[in-house]
Amino acid sequence: MAPKPITSPVPDAWYPTLSVFMLAIGLFVTASFFIYEATSSRQNRSLGKELITGAVASVFLGFGSLFLLLASGVYV
């Protein structure tokens, strides 16, 4: 059985594109989070909606910043 070369789970060439898209989506969701915070009054605010928006935003921002680091040569 010949040894199989290991590559990255995501192809190298996709790193810059993926990082741009994920960061863009993450920033949009972050913006909607902050808009919700700013415009809702104390009673109308729903903790669940805030947490979910925050979670989705942080997932996209996390992956986007990881691919940004990889695309710029810092192979973490």
Binding site: P5, I6, R42
Partner: protein, 608 residues
């Protein structure tokens, strides 16, 4: 490219067949023909030879052994055939009894024991570093560099040798002097001693060759080679060099003018550049030292290899030192492989520099965090131990395998393997760390908005703010209700359009009924909120606007309803289109105007 004359001695030792007369006892082994070739054309001395027997002892004087960098034995393939690297015979250091002192012995194990009268031929390659001594030891810039090499004309062996000869190959330069024994001939730049016949064991006849050598005596006192693996697709190699010119020390002044004007005369022993051979598809190569980037370098490559030519900041004369760092990245798929659940890294051990002797080589292999079951397999003995290194996005640090070897020559630049286990899920640790970091920021924001951090709970300002918050909530409710009303109006308009399209009066009437019901509910909600607003004192400023808005909306509602009924009537009575439009026109105008006002008011309230 200037003329590069390599200075070193390379001994090629060829020993031919040995006949075995009796049982394999040491003293009964006879070396029938020994041919030694010593190549002194580079700074590294190589002995190559072939020798047959079941287990042959190779003897080296202790003084020579401390310079011994590599000892390899391989079966003799015969002239013209390419030596296969895989067919090498095991060699180990032994201490047999009854041998003269000050000798070190290595035993070569043959593949099968030789019986009586059998013969076997094999080659021995011995590489010595620092075997050439510069003599004179200090020279000026204009002098030529002479080195001295000492060896024995007769092969030092515990066996009897029938026929032996020695040939010493020198670089094509001046030969200052050499020991003249019987049967000594010079052919060009090669000195041949022999053939000598039937010499007893342990015969020794020292010879000294004193010759000129201008090969670059590049000696690295310490090389630290760090290989960092990232499973996201890169193997980063960083090499730190401490280089010294190992030839005759330079005394007196250094004249840059003389050196630049006539480099071959004033400064023949210096070396200006080094060449490194790297694997193909290397990227992000950098060459710097403590000061910064060194721009005197050249890189070119093709699909088989990449060559890097580096020039230190100054030419190196005898005894001069320099220190620099070279770094480059390699694609992961060329070096990291998976076999039966284990991952292993297959990479070269030594430095990629040509003709560099390293006194102390330290190779550090940094594996990603979460690797376990680490083991190393190297083709020659090395010292090894483990460390940890904290790098990007690390919690506990990455495991580092450190391999150390002294006296490393370019022949040591072979592949070695590091085996380890790594689960694919561990790769997600890094993005999850980043996600967790960002999420904690969001949680902090949420906590800040939710927590009431005012100091005094009964001050007037605090209470006023509380009330204003409630008013804001009420106003948002009002806006919500009015928006829903407006959507109901839109639905009615849509039903009218449907009517004109399909002619279904019943559907239109049904829509009207539904709208009626919805609007009634909405007006109830509105009443509730309005009463609250009227009661609260903080809303006093905004209350008139809100009331105006509600009134206007009511007006609009009535008008829309009226228009709807008119249109349905017209349709039922089947009056002409123009008539119906005339009737509706005026109402429509008012409706649009009112609608605009309502929306303006909504915006105004929003801004407050």
């Amino acid at each position: 490219m200037g003329v590069r004359r390599k200075m070193a001695l390379r001994f090629d030792l060829i020993i031919f067949t040995i006949l075995l007369f009796a049982s394999p006892v040491l003293s009964d082994l006879i070396l029938s023909k020994v041919d030694r070739r010593i190549d002194l054309t580079s700074q590294i001395v190589e002995n190559e030879g072939s020798e047959p027997v079941s287990e042959v002892l190779l003897a080296f004087p202790d003084l020579q052994v401390k310079d011994l960098a590599l000892l390899k034995a391989s079966p003799h393939e015969g002239k013209g055939k390419v030596k296969s690297l895989s067919a090498s015979l095991p060699v180990e250091n032994v201490k047999p009894n009854g041998m003269p002192a000050a000798l070190t012995f290595y035993a070569v194990k043959l593949p099968k024991a030789l019986g009586k009268g059998d013969s076997y031929t094999f080659d021995v390659l011995a590489v010595f570093a620092h075997a050439l001594r510069p003599f004179p030891e200090k020279i000026t810039q204009a002098d030529i560099q002479l080195v001295v090499f000492q060896e024995s004309a007769f092969y030092l062996t515990p066996y009897v040798v029938k026929v032996q000869s020695l040939s010493v190959k020198l670089p094509e330069s001046r030969i200052e002097s050499y020991t003249k024994l019987e049967n000594t001939k010079i052919h060009g730049s090669e000195i041949k001693y022999g053939p000598y016949e039937n010499l007893p064991s342990f015969s020794y006849s020292p010879i000294v060759v004193h010759f000129e050598s201008n090969q670059p005596f590049a000696v690295a006192q310490e090389v630290v080679r760090e290989i960092e693996i990232s499973h996201w697709g890169n193997v980063q190699v960083t090499e730190h060099y401490k280089l010294v010119h190992g030839g005759a020390q330079n005394k007196g002044e250094f004249s840059r003018l003389d050196y630049q004007a006539r480099p071959t005369i004033r400064g023949a022993s210096a070396f200006k550049y080094l060449i490194a051979k790297m694997p193909p598809r290397v990227h992000s190569v950098y060459y710097r030292d403590e000061i910064g980037n060194i721009s005197t370098s050249n890189l070119w490559g093709d699909s088989k290899k990449t060559e890097l030519l580096i020039e230190p900041r100054y030419p190196l004369f005898g005894g001069w030192r320099t220190a620099f760092t070279i770094g480059y990245g390699l694609p992961l798929k060329d070096f990291l492989f998976e076999l039966e659940g284990n991952r292993f890294l297959n990479i070269t051990f030594g430095s990629p520099m040509n003709e560099l002797v390293i006194d102390n080589l330290i190779v550090k292999v940094v594996l990603p965090e979460g690797s376990g079951d680490i083991s190393v397999s190297a083709p020659f003995p090395v010292n090894q131990w483990e460390e940890t290194k904290l790098s990007h996005l690390d919690l506990t640090g990455r495991p580092v395998v450190v391999l150390q070897k002294t006296n490393v020559v370019p022949e040591h630049n072979q592949f070695f393997q590091v085996y380890y286990k790594f689960s694919k899920l561990s790769m997600l640790r890094e993005p999850f760390m980043l996600i967790f970091g960002f999420f904690s920021l969001f949680v902090a924001g949420i906590v800040y908005m939710h927590v009431d951090m005012s100091i005094s709970k009964s001050s007037a300002a605090y209470l006023a703010r509380l009330q204003w918050d409630e008013v804001q909530a009420a106003i948002q409710q009002v806006e919500n209700v009015i928006n829903r009303c407006l959507t109901t109006h839109d639905k009615l308009e849509a039903s009218l359009r449907d009517l004109s399209r399909t002619g279904d009066v019943q559907a239109c009437k049904a829509a009207r009924k539904a709208a009626d019901g919805l609007l009634k509910e909405l007006s109830k909600e509105l009443k509730l909120v309005l009463s609250f607003l009227q009661s609260s004192s903080a809303a006093s400023q905004i209350l008139p606007k809100v009331e105006e808005l509600v009134a206007k909306e009511k007006d609009l509602q009535e008008k829309v309803m009226a228009k709807h009924s008119t249109v349905v009537d017209c349709y039922e009575k089947k009056t002409g289109i123009r008539d119906s439009e005339n009737r509706v026109a005026a109402q429509q105008q008012k409706i649009t105007a009112l609608r605009q006002e309502v929306e303006n008011l909504l915006e105004l309230i929003d801004e407050i």
